[in-house]
């Protein structure tokens, strides 16, 4: 299975699609194809239905979070310093925008080959987290895409039932993102018990404010 050949085959048959081959430097040698969200469904259908490929088994789907980062670069610039032109070293900071990536591992049950690794990236990590759903193409995407939505916050357009899978429905954040911070309290519905305790604590502190004792080092 030559990924380069598959890439050119797809490009010849799915008009307008933009594919990029992402090399994997690890000894596993599982290189991948980066799809553009616009033509992703067409490419997926082509991979599934073409007789010599027949990737009918979508084994694994998962998300990866790549937060945006600032890269500082030292570059030499010629500049006028005190009226004399000199070569000065300057630090330039470039911001690489973050994205959420979804990775698919496809196999073929019919041809017994694979895996082929596909990936898609969202525009950013805030408003542009939309990607097309593969659930209409492979049913196995149903629960796995729900999980990615739940833990990473990718919105899959065309998914029939995009709800949280593992966290509860009222939960706000996306726990698998790199910048996720644990909430102070996991109780999603504060019980009366907690409210009573808090009132009692407030009452106590007003009635008997805690004073630092004199000998104590602060």
């Amino acid at each position: 299975m030559n990924l380069e050949a598959i890439k050119s085959e797809i490009e010849a048959n799915v008009p307008g699609c933009r594919l990029e081959l992402i090399a994997n430097p690890s000894p596993s040698g599982q290189h991948s194809l980066l799809l553009d969200a616009e033509h992703a469904s067409a490419v997926a259908l082509y991979l599934r239905d073409t007789p010599n490929l027949r990737f009918d088994f979508c084994s694994n789907i998962t998300g990866i979070d790549w937060p945006g980062k600032e890269v500082s670069q030292k570059i030499k610039v010629r500049k006028l310093v005190d009226g004399v032109e000199q070569e000065v070293e300057e630090t330039r900071i470039t911001t690489i925008p973050g994205s959420l990536e979804v990775v698919y591992h496809l196999y073929s049950v019919e041809k017994k080959h694979g895996p082929i690794v596909l990936r898609m990236r969202t525009k950013d990590r805030d408003a542009g987290v939309h990607l097309p759903s593969f659930t209409p193409i492979w049913r196995s995407a149903e629960l796995q895409e729900r999980e990615i939505f739940d833990l990473f916050g990718v919105l899959f357009d065309g998914h029939p039932d995009l709800r949280r899978l593992l966290m509860w429905d009222e939960f706000q954040d996306y726990p698998m993102r790199r910048d996720y911070v644990d909430p102070d309290d996991y109780e999603y519905e504060p019980t009366a018990h907690d409210a009573v305790l808090q009132r009692a604590r407030q009452h106590l502190s007003q009635a008997n404010p805690v004073q630092p004792s004199e000998g104590e080092a602060r």
Binding site: P25, S28, Q30, R139
Partner: protein, 386 residues
């Protein structure tokens, strides 16, 4: 207004006619239900006794295993993998070790491969016996079949304990090999256990296979078509019961499975009875593999000496490694950024993905059939919820 109508009104389910005879009833099966094999809930909408809708609810055992593993070293996650599918810790270890070996390009010594195959196939034996025991329990054959299965499982767990020090939380595999070598006399004991296993299978089969009640409860119940099984990513015995000829031991040629002669049993109906039979037949094949492996196991080192234990940092890159676990395709996907912790660590849980089609199998069936269908899918909540 009767109580039933009141209940329906509170659920916003309209009774279909005034008499209230055709109304739908929504019930929550689980999370504390003896048939759900852990904390798992199904929101079932019933028309009389017939299932109209079924929505599984996950997450009661969610602890974000993947996030924990990302904050842990590569080797530090090995004991955690035992806790995924706690019925088969050794195959979980194996899948994880395999993924890391792919990521870092580690070679496994001959003897270690044999140890992996032996422990892996023993795991398959004890998983399948217990599954059948639980399935019978779910069907109302209270006690006896399960106890027979547990008796057999105990013997295998004793072997695990002698080898790894733990009955269930084995933590046995290492990157590039296994943790400890076989203790003295272990192989003879294991040979005895495996030699006695076909007799147990004969006994079990004669009790169950042509049992009229079992056939009545399982045949043509929960039929899964071949097309849906492939599309929904169903793997393992569940897919093979539907006639999908796909065994990763044969397809991927991982480890040393090429050296053993064994067959892949396939079902033709895809119903619960086929799923039950496939597991029985697979156990016979596992016994075959075990006998060959225990005959051929060579002497030698059990771990790759070049692999570092401390300061293990694979080069940046990614790898997906998978094995044929007892429940299906168990895969691990790892992304390394060159640090001691994985940047991304993902478990491909066969139990969860095999549940994708639960609603399709249960629609139109009775409540009692849900229990049987769920039992035949073979789930462990530690893996479903991770």
């Amino acid at each position: 207004m009767s109580t039933a109508t009141l209940a329906a009104a509170s659920l916003n389910l309209e009774p279909a006619n005034e008499s209230g005879m055709d109304q739908l009833l929504e019930i929550a099966m689980g999370p504390q239900h003896p048939s759900t094999h852990g904390v798992f809930r199904m929101n079932v909408v019933l028309d009389g006794e017939r299932v109209v809708r079924l929505k599984p609810v996950f997450g009661y055992l969610h602890r974000n295993h993947e996030k924990i593993a990302e904050n842990e070293t590569y080797l530090g996650s090995m004991p955690y993998t035992d806790r995924l599918d706690y019925m088969c810790p050794l195959t979980n270890n194996w899948a994880y070790a395999l993924a890391v070996e792919k990521l870092a390009g580690i070679q496994v010594p001959e003897r270690a491969e044999y140890l992996r195959v032996i422990t892996g196939e023993l795991t398959r034996l004890q998983n399948h016996t217990c599954l059948i025991g639980f399935l019978m329990q779910d069907m109302g054959a209270s006690g006896t079949p399960l106890m027979y299965a547990f008796r057999q499982r105990e013997i295998i767990l004793d072997l695990f304990e002698a080898l790894t020090g733990a009955r269930m939380m084995c933590n046995y595999m290492r990157f590039g090999g296994c943790r400890v070598d076989l203790p003295a006399g272990w192989l003879d004991q294991a040979k005895k256990v495996v030699a006695g296993f076909p007799r147990f299978l004969d006994e079990y089969e004669s009790l169950l296979v042509s049992n009229e009640i079992l056939m009545d409860r399982t045949q043509d119940v929960g039929v899964l078509s071949k097309e849906l099984a492939i599309s929904a990513g169903i793997s393992g015995p569940m897919a093979r019961a539907s006639g999908v000829d796909y065994d990763i031991r044969k397809v991927d040629h991982y480890s040393i499975y090429d050296r053993f002669a064994f067959r892949v049993p396939l079902g033709s109906h895809g119903d619960v009875y086929d799923r039950f039979m496939i597991r029985l037949l697979e156990m016979r094949e596992s016994v075959n593999i075990l006998q060959q492996a225990m005959r051929d196991i060579p002497e030698g080192p059990i771990v790759d000496p070049k692999t570092k234990i401390r300061g293990f940092r694979p080069k940046p890159g990614e790898a997906y490694g998978r094995i044929e676990g007892p429940k299906g395709e168990l895969g691990f996907y790892l992304v390394s950024d060159g640090s001691p912790n994985p940047y991304r660590y993902r478990v491909r849980p066969p139990s969860l993905i095999n549940l994708t089609i639960l609603e399709d199998l249960c629609l139109g069936r009775n409540v009692a059939d849900i229990v049987v269908i769920l039992g035949s899918i073979d789930i462990v909540m530690g893996e479903v919820d991770r």
